[in-house]
Amino acid sequence: MTGLDLAFATFGLIAVVCGLLAVTTTRVVHAALWLVVSLGALAGCFLVMGAEFVALVQVLIYVGAIVVLVLFALMLTRSPIAAQTEVSVGPRRRVLAAVLGAASAALLLAVLVPVVAVLPERTVTSTEVMARDLFGVWVWPFELLSVLLLSALVAAFAVSRMDRPSEDTAPAHASSTDAPLLGEAEA
């Protein structure tokens, strides 16, 4: 076992433990924050595997955008500070979910463990090489992805404005939770 393996095991252990906490905690905002720690530790794993750029992008996008969005949504949907048991399904369904989760993990392990190889040394893909490939070989998927992002943006806008017409007729009590906070120009 080399130093790299040890570092990977440490980060991986943090990622798994925090992931477990994220899916079991009964406090909703804590779940999002455990997800942050888990994904941060995952970025540490990527660093150990020599993928520095992926690690930084992971933290930038997940912590800077995705988790902030999730926290935002949790606050907008009036999540209390106190623990809530009703955020999870009942014990019977939980056992079923645990069995399914364990089964999928076991399935993946059964497929992956037989093909484990010990690398003499890790291959580090430099950012230059990656960028050349990204804008060479992968350029069409990349363009497709940008179209996907654009349509996701438009869709998110469209969905979040869906009830605007009815708002003018009825006094908007349901949507008043977020609009003044966001500072959307209602007035």
């Binding site: 406090r27 905002v29 804590h30 924050l33 942050v36 520095e52 750029f53 930084l56 992008v57 933290v59 930038l60 912590v63 800077g64 955008a65 988790v67 902030v68 969005l69 926290l71 935002f72 606050m75 907008l76 500070i81 950012t127 906070l181 966001l182 500072g183 959307e184 120009a185």
Partner: protein, 317 residues
């Protein structure tokens, strides 16, 4: 790199991290005082109240460490650290002199952006965990602001990285030429604007807004934890001023930079810090919806246009 060198480098970064924000804080006291036609704190320490910040620090230390009964205790307590520590990490990768950088990281420009994003999470958590309506409103505003201004910030840095052909801050300084002052000017303005918004400094301080939502996320905070949030704000000013100098003004480049590089960095960074303080005195707070409008309709299109311009110039060069 030997163990001694690592210790020395860490100590140097920590010292800079502790001293420079205090200098900026003192500068804010004095600059604001003079601009508003008043003296500002004059007594502590004798000469022009130089020790006022130290006295403030001692005062913060003596205050009782209160946690509201309804708060999420654990999160409430670690939030100031989450706001402060990322700036320490970011400070370690900013080059100040040829060969002087706390830690040489290949993609340091990206790392600084990552750190500043994490820091805002501290405010968000602190505001939510305080169990206070004003704090919650402040936290939500700061989340909305982060989402809106992170994009132009990243785009303007991306433009510089594209022009330099590297993600490394040292590499960017080496690739810098005076022409950048002109054709990277839109990116520089967008960066400055977005940095002030990211720091929640006036005129973009709607998340804090002491006169409407009572300091927002910090309403419940007092004593040392509040001081940590203040320190994070000043550390942020230092970091973004240095970063502006490095990205757009050529960092340590200048006559005799082999010996005077750190002086050039300071000379370029200081006016930016001054400018950020000046903005606080000169402009009133913009409303939260004006803030969003400025980001999405003003800064993002400008940053995208700059990125396109940079790409065209780089490709045709």
């Amino acid at each position: 790199m030997s163990a001694l060198e690592i210790v020395l480098r860490s100590a140097a970064v920590l010292a800079a991290f502790l001293v420079l924000p205090l200098l900026v804080g003192q500068m804010e006291h004095k600059v604001m005082g003079h601009m508003q036609g008043r003296l500002g704190p004059m007594y502590a320490g004798g000469y022009h109240g130089w020790a006022q910040l130290i006295a403030d620090g001692v005062k913060f230390l003596q205050k009782e460490d209160l946690t509201p009964a309804a708060a999420d205790r654990w999160l409430y307590r670690i939030a100031p650290a989450i706001a402060l520590v990322p700036y320490l990490v970011a400070m370690a990768v900013v080059p100040v002199h040829p060969g002087w950088v706390g830690a040489e990281v290949p993609a340091s420009a990206l790392l600084v952006l990552v750190a500043s994003g994490i820091s805002v999470l501290g405010m968000l958590i602190g505001g939510w965990a305080s169990a206070n309506k004003y704090s919650l409103i402040g936290a939500m505003r700061s989340a909305a602001q982060l989402l809106a201004y992170e994009l132009p910030l990243v785009l303007s840095v991306a433009s510089v990285c594209l022009a330099a052909g590297t993600l490394n801050l040292t590499g960017i300084i080496e690739a810098w030429s005076p022409a950048w002052l002109l054709w990277q000017l839109p990116a520089a303005l967008v960066f400055l604007c977005a940095a002030v918004a990211e720091l929640n400094r006036p005129p973009f301080d709607t998340p804090i807004a002491d006169s409407e939502i009572v300091m927002g996320p910090f309403t419940e905070y007092g004593g040392l934890r509040f001081a940590f949030f203040l320190l994070a704000e000043y550390a942020g000013i230092v970091l973004f001023s240095l970063l502006f100098a490095v990205l757009f003004l050529g960092g340590w480049r200048g006559p005799g930079d082999a010996y005077l590089g750190f002086l050039w960095t300071a000379l370029k960074g200081l006016p930016i810090a001054f400018l950020i303080i000046w903005m606080r005195v000169a402009w009133p707070r913009v409303r939260a919806d004006q803030l969003q409008r400025l980001a999405w309709l003003g800064l993002v299109p400008v940053a995208l246009g700059q990125l396109a311009l940079t790409a065209v110039v780089v490709v045709s060069r």
